[in-house]
Amino acid sequence: MTPDEPTAHPEPGSDPRSDMVGGLAWMALGIVILVMSWQMDRLESQDINPYTIPGLVPGLLGCGMILLSGLMLVRGARRGGFSAHAIASPRLDWRRLGLVLTLCLGFAGVLLGRVPFWLAAWLFVTGSILVLRWRDMADSRLRGIVTAIAIGLCTGAAVSVLFERLFLVRLP
């Protein structure tokens, strides 16, 4: 996008529904932060300087969040609030996102630390390629599967050797 290219739709910042939802969410977070900071131990037993209590800066940040979220809510309300027509976000394939998240969380959250790294990487890369490219491999499934297995194996082996043997970096 060049600097003076006309936009096809208003800027994201002016989406009133986004402002209302975002404003409420940030307001809630700001209030939680402020309350938790207020309740934080003031270390009076250690006789510290009262201007250095641990909850000071987080509390001020919470106040800042509340203030900015209030401005966001006011901005959204002035432009129509929840009754305004929502500006469409870029379309998201939720099913595909769910698949990707499952694969990534399965690798990083489940396999890592429980099986050797090279094996975890092999399974993840091979599985991801197969799952995400299954439809594209309709013409030559066997070749696609063999290629995916080979890429996964090479990735697992190469990353393990490179990091552990060459650069002496510990892997999970």
């Binding site: 060049t2 600097p3 994201p12 641990p54 940040l61 966001m72 998201l92 959250g109 890592l112």
Partner: protein, 502 residues
Amino acid sequence: MLGHAYLGFLTPWSLLYALSGSFVGILVGCLPGLSATLCIALLTTLTLKLPANDAILILISSYVGTLYGGSRSAILLNIPGTAANAASCADGHALAMRGEAGRAIGIATSGAFCGTLFGVFCLAAFTPVLANVALSFGAFEFFWLAMFGIVISGSLVGDDPLKGWMIGLLGLFVAQIGQEGLYAFNRFTFGWDELSGGISLIPALIGAFGFAEVLTNLANPVEKQLVQLKDSTLPRFREVAQYWRTVLRSGAIGVLTGLLPGVGEDSGAWMSYAAAKAVSSDRRNFGKGSIDGLMAAETGDMSSIPGHIIPSLALGVPGSAPSAVLMAAMIIHGIQPGPMLMIEHPQFIYDVVAMTSLATMSILFFGLFMVRPLLLVLRIKRTVLMPIIFVLATVGAYASASRLFDVYVMLAVGIGAFFLRRRGYHMAPFVLGLVLGQLLDKSLRRGLVLSDGSIAPFFTRPICTGFAVVTFATMLMYVPACNALVRRGLACAKSFVGVRQV
């Protein structure tokens, strides 16, 4: 000291490190969606065991290489390799579509080379000066420096300053999690021991710029047609001579935007582009294959790299997300960026100048001899590449402290960043908040102790007054009523001057 630095790096190993770092950087930069931040973060873990100077040389070379490599996909695919190359897309791709892709890449090479060299000169000249000025900073000044950084970053990045400031506050808050710096009191840890150490910067950055990109690329993969290279890709230095004003102006703009905390290289590119268009006699050609436009974008983009390194070294405040990772790497290797650097490691500043110069020579080498082979990486399908990138990202998150908790941090930050970006929030202010949070916390509390609770010194000390005025003025400029008032005032002033001239 500068001569000593250059001589010290003229060794075969240093040249090899510079070339390797640039090579990896160009490969990463070519691939849309992968950022310099991710590249530097991954290489930081790879270079943990190397001597400090060798490790930083590789990282700086990869930084320069990534932003240079991003111009390739901008030109051939009309997708910027990194956000900083977005300004090169319009003119670069237009040139490619009319059969001049090689010429466009040559212009990108010459602009990148000249821009980085200009920035290196400024790095050598201004860093010691700024570091000496920063020696007079106290707690009050550092507080305002942190506030100024967040406000400027939030204002200039993205379309909505309110969202920018909000995400900056979130970054500042996340930096408060863990043991605080004065009394080792655990804040917001909920009894979880792993959180006592806080949220580490590198896993958070890998999550925000690596995992979030992997999710973006895999959830909605867009495979674009690659334009074929038919003509020569050699840099045309005749065009540099012809557009020398553009090169100098864009170099200066790039360095100046680089000095602003957390603003990012894309601002240098866009502002240089806008300035070139404003003064060009061939304005209508911008966006349709303008050599001037492409030269301005690439020069401004690359000159901002040394520009971002200047405040990182001199003030300990990163100019961009990649320079934030660079700073983290320096700290890991025992070098503390900031005003004390001129006292504790004065030679290091000149070493960085020499490293950046070597990196510049490396990208020229690859721009002259290795353009076509390096483009093969653009043919790899995203659905094959992104899982490999994610594997590297988990290693990068894990390796700095050998904790699986850091991997979980990467996952959480990445998922959050993915959804926030879809709602119009940029991650640069968040990263800056993460870096500056501890500084803001300690500076405010120390300042209040020194002033015995009075906030007057925060507004009456000369440097503080300057920072405070600029910070509040920046925020007020985005209030519609104030903005309208300022515009009316400027219009009155213009008409007054016009009347006087008549």
